[in-house]
Symmetry: C2
Subunit: 158 residues, 2 copies
């Protein structure tokens, strides 16, 4: 079983290398495994697809969910060549795989110019202290839609 | 100018309502504005597209970036009907708009069943204490790709 883990991590690292070499984006790759088989592969595509959310983990979560026809990664395992950033961590919690294996860590990424510590720091700040302005506006009107959601009878919860 | 802010927030709330009513997903909408004009609109599509990352903010960030042909939302403003979750917060920091206006807040969302506090809590935990297992594996091999990134001469940094 531990050999399988190593095999899947090697594939994630291989994808990281391929994506970087082909100028798709940064040096990050990932795979999603279910029942011992890879169901999705991907690498960072931020600069080639002009999509700041196209980190390897988000790419493979989207592909694996599409493959499964589900918005949850129940019983799946993600192998990623680098520890997830806060955005990917959030995506992982919404997708709910059972485990995540990661190669390089956050400090390794920071050392080559991918420093997400500022996002971790910002998340913990009160909104009035953040680097990007977050401004509450029109809560009463926005709440009317939440009331309608509560009353909606055919809603699909997630 | 404040009237414009209200107008754009109304549109985000309207999109939240439309998306919910049409069963695209949860009651969340957003728009991206640049130079006083809406350049992207969207709503939550998690359940209809089987994509756990398809929160309104991620959807509009991707669309606005596609529209601009850039992976940054320089000088853009995001209006979202609800305070962003940790995933969307991460996406926002990578996209770097100049401001984010939000309608409902995190507690309002929790009150109708969308509670992202557990993700904020998990982010702050050491990995060995998290609800989803995060396991380091194969760092040495993964680092070889980072070394190649450092040496790469034609890399596009972001």
């Amino acid at each position: 079983m531990s050999e399988d883990h190593i095999k899947f991590m090697k594939r994630a690292v291989e994808l990281a290398h391929q994506g970087m070499s082909s100028n798709y984006g940064g040096p990050f790759g990932a795979v999603v495994v279910k029942d011992g088989k890879i169901i999705a592969e991907g690498h960072n595509e931020v600069t080639s697809s002009n999509d700041p959310t196209a980190h390897a983990e988000v790419v493979v979560i989207r592909r694996a969910c599409e493959h499964l026809g589900d918005f949850q990664l129940t019983d799946c395992v993600i192998y990623t060549s680098c520890e997830p950033c806060p955005m990917c961590l959030g995506a992982i919690y919404w997708a709910r795989p059972k485990a995540v294996y990661f190669g390089c860590n956050q400090r390794d990424a920071a050392a080559i110019g991918f420093d997400d510590q500022f996002i971790y720091d910002e998340i913990d700040l009160d909104i009035e202290k953040r680097g990007i302005k977050f401004i509450p506006l029109g809560r009463d009107e926005a709440l009317t839609v939440f009331r309608k959601w509560e009353e909606k009878e055919d809603k699909m919860e997630y």
